[in-house]
């Protein structure tokens, strides 16, 4: 409920309509790229979007520094960020849901379980359900439409555990959540030096994670025969880890910006929303990884 008497309603702005134009161009351009191989419009749209976002965030930061943001407006930003993260949770829920559905229902049915086993069996008689799915139904039926992977990414056993990248990635990302929390704690006590150090460490960990993720993908494509095209295992593996990796990239970038802002002295114990919002995002990305580690890597 509002207590202040003046809520800041901004003057008209050119940014939103340009942002919408950018998104429109990107949608058109992405379609053209896939259909005709022409990438020009996609680049123009992306460049415009980047420019709009840069100016938009700069404007908001300047408004905040100029003291135009009442506590009430700050609460609006808090709600905005929280619900945005909720929408991201739902986005990942789709891909986790897909994974669960495929593993617990679709594949066993294809393998002949369930009420309609007699009919299914006529379609894919040689197919056996397993997870990770190394041999696809089409392979079992003697076609090479979809070829399963040569190797999978699951837990390799205790003896090889320390050569297993996902474990390292888990340790790195969980640690980064802790360092991010330390940074927050430091700023709460207006300890800028510690804040800069801990946040810097967090960003560095994020970058290391991304590097290892790149290594993993490289190995998958070049040595393990595991690609987007290797049946449902490859599809779900790359979709889940890929979108997660994309979010880590975004999160690292956001924290990097906050780090730079920290160096410029933008934050104080009672005014650090830009950092806090980014840190919530970072914790969220971390929780998603915990789910990934469990359901994509360990319990497979």
């Amino acid at each position: 409920m509002s207590t202040e008497s003046n809520y800041y309603v901004p003057e008209e702005s050119r940014l939103p309509v340009l942002g919408a134009l950018a998104l429109g161009l990107m949608a058109l351009g992405a379609g053209l790229l896939l259909n005709d191989g022409a990438s020009g419009i996609l680049w123009v749209g992306t460049a415009l979007l980047v420019a709009v976002m840069y100016i938009w965030f700069r404007t908001v930061i300047r408004e905040n520094i100029a003291g135009m943001n009442s506590d009430q407006l700050k609460r609006s930003y808090v709600w905005g960020m929280s619900w945005f993260i909720f929408s991201e949770v739902m986005f990942f829920a789709v891909f986790f849901g897909t994974l669960f559905y495929v593993r617990t229902l679709a594949l066993p049915w294809l393998g002949g379980e369930g009420d309609r086993s007699d009919m299914i069996h006529l379609v894919w008689p040689e197919f056996t359900a397993q997870w990770p799915l190394m041999e696809t139904p089409s392979q079992a039926a003697g076609s090479n439409e979809f070829i399963g992977p040569d190797h999978h990414m699951s837990f390799p056993g205790w003896d090889k555990m320390f050569h297993w990248l996902p474990l390292w990635n888990t340790i790195i990302l969980l640690t980064s959540s802790v360092t991010c929390h330390f940074a927050h704690h430091a700023m709460k006590h207006d300890d800028r030096k510690k804040f800069n150090i801990w946040l810097g460490v967090t960003v560095a960990l994020g970058i290391i994670f991304l590097f290892l993720q790149y290594e993993e993908y490289h190995e998958a494509y070049t040595e393990m025969g595991l690609t987007l095209e290797s049946g449902i295992y490859g599809s779900t593996f790359f979709m889940l880890t890929g979108f997660h990796g994309f979010h880590v990239t975004m999160g690292t970038f956001m924290l990097l910006i906050q780090w730079i802002r920290g160096l410029k002295g933008h934050f104080s114990s009672d005014d650090q929303f830009g950092f806090e919002a980014s840190s919530w995002y970072w914790h969220f990305v971390d929780v998603v990884w915990a789910g990934l580690f469990l359901f994509v890597y360990v319990l497979a």
């Binding site: 409920m1 309509v17 919408a20 134009l21 998104l23 379609g31």
Partner: protein, 517 residues
């Protein structure tokens, strides 16, 4: 911010004012309504008589698909967002929406998104032709190339919806005037709060669905292809996990509108306010756990069929509470029947009818007969058109004096209502008979025994279409030459903060929040 609107086109392009943005949403959605309506007229003209008369079957499929997509995403949803933009700040005593610039971004994405979608009609291969539910593999393996534009269009339209909803939630939770507690919120605000929650929850699911389609089509994944270990039925699960909440996204704000109009013209407060709030929340919750009632014929295990059947029927309970409350509000009220009230009463009656046919469809063994027949088409037009669109028309007549400071012509309004009401029923009652007699949906031609009712249905549809042109005429002539209506309280029985403001509502309202007792 004390000054008025900017001059020229910049006022609209660079707007941050909730009323201007609301106005743009309303006009845009009406334009889409006319476009989707034109497609519907083409469909009904082709189905006027058996045999192929006017268009080719391929084009017919594009028409049904584009009609559905444009009506759901372009007409109904943005129209209620426009209404929320206008009314939520006025009803809670807020100076504007919580995040005014993002508000304008949400709006301006829509023209770009729908221009992209509509432009596929002129591209090689034609527009999407796989139905508004775009089931795989029709929408993947067998889709026209333009499907990629459709997918990216859905992505940005979805982003617009999510941002719009976040804005509405932040406004309602954070910008209420002092004293405006949650349980004092007008019902339109409550229903929008819950609708916005549903939107934030399921639009990302839709985005996920189209993203998987994109991957299957262009990058060799096999989410919806059994040959690689995926499952086309998975697509239906994901789509309807979005799709069933989506139908409540469409109807809940309509419920909110009805809950404002009926008390006004009954000159009585709404009966059972808190039960309305709880019923709305219950509907929203249940809407997440009933989705597979759209999939009774996909070969679900029997336990699944039973669960989804009973869970679906449960929704009738909170829905019944609402209908009961509306009727009880009218009971012994001193009723008058101005145009908004006529629309509201029609919604109560016709929506209830649509709810009952929904219950019939929820009976799994029966639905195996009804599924994908014209009966389903009849059902959802009773809820979407007679539910959502009728209440939107009522809402425009109800608040038009507040928006413009002018009064519409009551005779013309009533005439428009009756033509719409009669036309609608002539168009859609026969579709139930056709479906029960076995006519499938989404076909460009039909067997001879279906001829009579199809002709009747088409005549009704043209009549309903004509009523919309009359609606447009009524709105424009009110704006241009309506009788001035400047008193604060347009309707004698109206309650709520918006009726404490002058008409037309000034450009900036509640810059200092009012005190609500």
């Amino acid at each position: 911010m004390a000054h008025g609107p900017a001059k020229g086109i910049g006022r609209w392009l660079f707007a941050t004012n909730h009323k201007d943005i609301g106005t743009m949403y309303l006009w845009f959605s009406f334009a889409m309504f006319l476009l989707g309506g034109a497609f519907a007229m083409i469909i009904r003209a082709e189905l006027f008589a058996p045999g192929m008369q006017l268009i080719k079957p391929e084009f017919f499929n594009q028409m049904t698909t584009m009609h559905g997509l444009i009506m759901v995403f372009g007409a109904i949803m943005p129209s209620f967002v426009g209404l929320a933009n206008w009314m939520v700040p006025l009803q809670i005593g807020a100076p504007d929406m919580a995040l005014p610039r993002m508000n304008n971004l949400s709006f301006w994405i829509l023209p770009f998104g729908f221009a992209l979608l509509a432009s596929t009609l002129f591209m090689e291969g034609g527009a999407p032709n796989f139905g508004w539910t775009f089931y795989a593999p029709l929408s993947t393996t067998y889709a026209p190339d333009t499907v990629n534009f459709f997918i990216f269009g859905v992505h940005i339209i979805g982003a617009s919806s999510i941002m719009g909803s976040i804005n509405i939630i932040a406004t309602i939770l954070n910008l209420r005037a002092p004293g405006m507690t949650m349980m004092k919120l007008p019902l339109f605000v409550w229903t929008w709060l819950i609708t916005a929650f549903l939107l934030v929850a399921v639009m990302p699911v839709l985005a996920g669905a189209v993203t998987m389609m994109l991957m299957d089509i262009n990058f060799g994944t096999s989410f919806f292809d059994a040959a690689g270990g995926g499952d086309p039925v998975l697509f239906q699960h994901i789509f309807w996990f979005f799709g069933h909440p989506e139908v409540y996204i469409i109807i809940l704000p309509a419920f909110g509108v009805i809950s404002e109009i009926i008390p006004t013209f009954s000159r009585k407060p709404l009966f059972g306010y808190s039960s309305m709030v709880y019923a709305t929340s219950a509907i929203a919750f249940l809407s997440f756990i009933v989705w597979a009632h759209h999939m009774f014929t996909t070969g679900m295990p029997i336990a699944g069929e039973l669960y989804f059947m009973y869970a679906t029927m449960l929704i009738a309970v909170p829905t019944g509470v609402k209908v009961f409350n509306w009727i009880t509000t009218m009971f012994r009220g001193s009723l008058t029947f101005e145009t908004p009230m006529l629309f509201a009463i029609a919604v109560v009656i016709l929506f209830t009818f649509g709810g009952f046919t929904g219950l019939m469809l929820a009976v799994a063994p029966a639905d195996i007969q009804y599924h994908d027949s014209y009966f389903v088409v009849g059902h959802f037009h009773y809820v979407m058109v007679a539910g959502a669109v009728f209440s939107m028309s009522g809402a425009v007549y109800y608040w038009l004096p507040k928006w413009t400071g002018k009064m519409y012509d009551e005779t013309m309004g009533k005439m428009q209502f009756w033509i719409a009401f009669v036309g609608f029923n002539i168009a859609f009652i026969p579709q139930h008979f056709l479906g029960l007699a076995g006519m499938p949906r989404r076909y460009a031609d039909y067997a001879l025994q279906f001829s009579d009712w199809n002709m009747v249905s088409s005549i009704g549809a043209f009549m309903y279409g004509a009523a919309q042109l009359m609606f447009l005429y009524n709105v424009i002539s009110t704006i241009v030459s309506g009788k001035p209506s400047t008193e604060e309280k347009t309707w004698e029985g109206a309650q709520g903060l918006e009726w404490t403001l002058p008409s037309p509502a000034p450009f900036h309202t509640f810059s200092t929040p009012p005190n609500v007792k």
